[in-house]
């Protein structure tokens, strides 16, 4: 899988001090992040950490309680219609107008992107679906709808794609088709993509950078390659009743003791972990460090519950 080299460019998306509550429930406070041009960024987080809230704020359908969000340097709450041409939006569930058929929906959208609309990109993708052009979208499967939604975005040819849970309801075949098409398109055309998904394997295959959200804050933001190179799962045998070692705050993620085995995740190297444990006179044997995939890293950093 080819990954683009990181380019130093003006961020396409910039969010500063975002704060939002639903009633009295805090979602997050003073959230800051930016998305550079030409990168595919995945927003990961457990249910309730604010992923959809962030997508809704970015797509202009939720007013944050405080803070600002800019896309292409414009405040999203006051974004001009011309700028919206450059943003391709995929709503959770691959929602499209149910009452239209394939031809009607293409004809409808094409009118809004004169001179830019790539009709052939839409129909090239839809050839794979084996559906009649006059078939209504309401009579299509979830997978077929996802390809219609993707085809419309490809035809629109936006600079920025915002995709909310792009893998929702898709079987593995459609998910792979979606991911592969999107990856090739974004890489070839230097598009910026901001997306969320619950299927971490798809994210690992697709994204360059990730933002990992925890309750109320961002846990980390870094390139996926860098994350997977530096995060380790550590396991060791410990005597019963010894308890969890007191290593520096935030150096151990979700330590868990099962019988005589201690498991935790950390960005520290093996040598650093050994040194820390020895400093505390912490007894252990069979210390092992192993690299993990993105899904295990996600669970390790955010916890199982």
């Amino acid at each position: 899988m080819n990954k683009k080299s990181k380019k130093t460019m003006e961020p396409i998306i910039q969010c500063k001090n975002l704060t939002h509550y639903y009633g009295k429930r805090l979602i997050y406070k003073d959230l800051n992040f930016s998305v550079p041009q030409g990168r595919i960024l995945g927003l990961l987080g457990k249910n309730g950490t604010g992923k959809t809230t962030t997508i809704n704020i970015l797509s202009g359908y939720l007013q944050p309680q405080a803070g600002e969000c800019k896309i292409f340097g414009e405040d999203i709450t006051k974004m001009s219609p011309i700028m919206r041409k450059e943003i391709g939006l995929l709503i959770e569930g691959h929602v499209q107008y149910q009452f239209m058929n394939l031809q009607e929906i293409e004809r409808f959208y094409a009118a809004f992107y004169p001179g830019k609309w790539k009709k052939e990109a839409y129909y090239a993708l839809l050839e794979k679906l084996k559906v009649a052009p006059k078939q209504r979208i309401s009579r299509m499967s979830c997978g077929q709808r996802s390809q219609v939604a993707l085809g419309l975005i490809l035809a629109q040819d936006p600079s920025l794609l915002i995709l909310d849970d792009f893998s929702l309801g898709l079987d593995p075949g459609y998910r792979r088709l979606f991911v592969d098409y999107l990856r090739e398109y974004a890489t070839a055309e230097n598009k910026t993509v901001f997306l969320t998904s619950h299927i971490i394997q798809d994210m690992e295959r697709l994204v360059d950078d990730c933002i990992l959200m925890d309750y109320g804050k961002i846990l980390l933001q870094m390139p996926v390659d860098e994350l997977l190179q530096t995060i380790r799962r550590y396991t060791m045998h410990i005597p019963e009743q010894q308890g969890i070692p007191q290593i520096a705050h935030h150096s151990l993620y979700h330590p868990n003791v099962l019988g005589n085995t201690l498991e935790f995740f950390s960005f520290l190297s093996l040598k650093e972990v050994q040194q820390e444990l020895t400093k505390q006179n912490y007894y252990f044997t069979h210390l092992k460090a192993e690299k993990v995939g993105l899904e295990d890293a996600f669970i390790g950093l955010t916890g199982k519950y």
């Binding site: 202009g60 939720l62 007013q63 219609p81 919206r84 709503i91 569930g93 929602v95 409808f108």
Partner: protein, 223 residues
């Protein structure tokens, strides 16, 4: 772009438009037929007498039809927009949200105007051949507040459909019942003539409610 928006509204509403048009033509035609048959049976001079002394208009069957057409048209147009928040797609189009919203409403308003003009045209077309000016105007002007009720029902039902929270939808429903009831308080012929300017203003005011609902949708208001 307004053509594309009209195209979308046409796809949604084409069958309803046909049914509504046929219904209003049918009911209007039936009203005309009643006048014709009554005239044949009792003589036109008897109808004149009845209209003058008892305020009969012969168009009572049309009373609630514009309201029903307006309300149903709004449901046919805007319920699909709110399914799975499809409205997000509409508002994301590279077109002013205000212009988009009022383009959709303009489609409905134009159709209602077509329906009401056809109905009024048919009534005038026959009634002015059998009645004096005062009498055919009595019938025709009696229908005007009903047609206004149709527009108001359209705007209020649109606002209810576009509103993102159930609490406010219920509030709008109750408000709609009160406002629409105003058009049907008095069944006397031409009773609303002096009030027509006020009712027109009130109807225009309710045309702003759908936009308020859209603004709340954009702000992410929830129950």
């Amino acid at each position: 772009m307004i053509q594309a928006l009209f195209y979308k509204e046409w796809i949604k509403t084409r069958w309803f438009l046909l049914v509504a048009l046929l219904t209003i033509i049918g009911v209007t035609g039936y009203c005309i037929l009643r006048v014709y048959r009554a005239g044949e049976l009792n003589g036109m001079d008897h109808l004149w007498l009845v209209m003058l002394t008892r305020g009969v208009t012969f168009v009572e069957l049309l009373q609630y039809l514009p309201l029903a057409i307006g309300g149903l048209l709004a449901l046919v147009q805007f319920v699909p927009e709110m399914q799975k928040s499809c409205l997000k797609l509409t508002l994301h189009l590279p077109h002013s949200a205000l212009a988009t919203t009022y383009s959709m409403l303009l489609w409905g308003t134009l159709f209602l105007t077509l329906c009401f003009c056809i109905s009024s045209g048919l009534l005038y077309g026959y009634l002015h051949t059998v009645f004096t000016t005062e009498l055919w105007q009595q019938s025709l002007f009696t229908t005007f507040p009903w047609f206004l009720a149709g527009y108001m029902a359209y705007f209020l039902t649109s606002a209810i459909c576009l509103e993102p929270t159930w609490k406010r939808r219920i509030g709008y429903c109750m408000m709609s019942l009160v406002l629409l009831h105003l058009f049907f308080l008095n069944h006397t012929a031409q009773a609303y003539n002096p009030l027509l300017p006020f009712l027109i203003l009130l109807t225009l005011l309710t045309a702003t409610f759908p936009w308020l609902s859209v603004l709340r949708f954009k702000a992410g208001c929830q129950d």
